[in-house]
């Protein structure tokens, strides 16, 4: 399943809840304010890094990073920066999506 999170992990528990319910082999795509969850050095970064070690792939929307002035160099290692073409491909690749609102 492709999980989509659009809120900052410091504003809502959506990312945390998503990670708790993502099985191995899932992917998580961070869009909109969710891209703040992609940044190194936040109090939520280790939660993401641990999930990545559990065979969950993380993607982050480049357009949303740029809009917020977040340099790609500040994205957690191992996370893939993608665009809307990549988003479409992810939706096609995984058998279904779930948005954590």
């Amino acid at each position: 399943m492709l999980h989509i999170v659009n809120k900052s992990p410091l504003e809502r528990n959506a990312l945390e809840s998503c990670i708790k319910h993502a099985v191995k082999g899932s992917a998580v795509l961070l869009i909109e304010d969710g891209v703040y969850g992609a940044m190194q050095g936040t109090s939520k970064a280790s939660m993401v890094e641990t999930a990545m070690k559990e065979d969950i792939s993380f993607y982050v929307m480049g357009a949303d990073l740029k809009a917020r002035g977040i340099d790609e160099a500040r994205v957690i290692d191992g996370m893939t920066v993608t665009d809307y073409n990549g988003f479409v491909d992810l939706v096609a690749e995984y058998d279904k999506t779930q948005s954590w609102l």
Partner: protein, 135 residues
Amino acid sequence: MSDAKRFLYVNRKAPYGTIYALESLEVVLIGAAFEQDVSLAFLDDGVYQLTKGQQTDELGVKNFSPTYKALGDYDVNKIYVEKESLEERGLTLDDLLPLTYEDEDDDWAEKDSIRLVSAAELAEIMEAQDVVLSF
């Protein structure tokens, strides 16, 4: 008609503070007519939607909690409530509405629709669906 798809409706928000609880219930009721394989999941603050004793007169808004009791009549009887979400909120099954359905395969015996599951179990249930709707 093709095989029924497994539809899961995910509820993570409390009632009344926003409209999502009410309007998602409306989708479930309309969706029931399509004879798909329907499940509901209540986790995080969504578990508050199912609590007993909601009285909205003083607030002046419609109390829609009785509608959950009708779900059984619409063949919606797989209502997954997450244990950890209840515990974090100091709630138990006793705090929730007694939602039941009549099992036509068991002489119409009345059974509980609410199934308490762990987060790990709910993750597997989510993964097994065809369509997941979040509100």
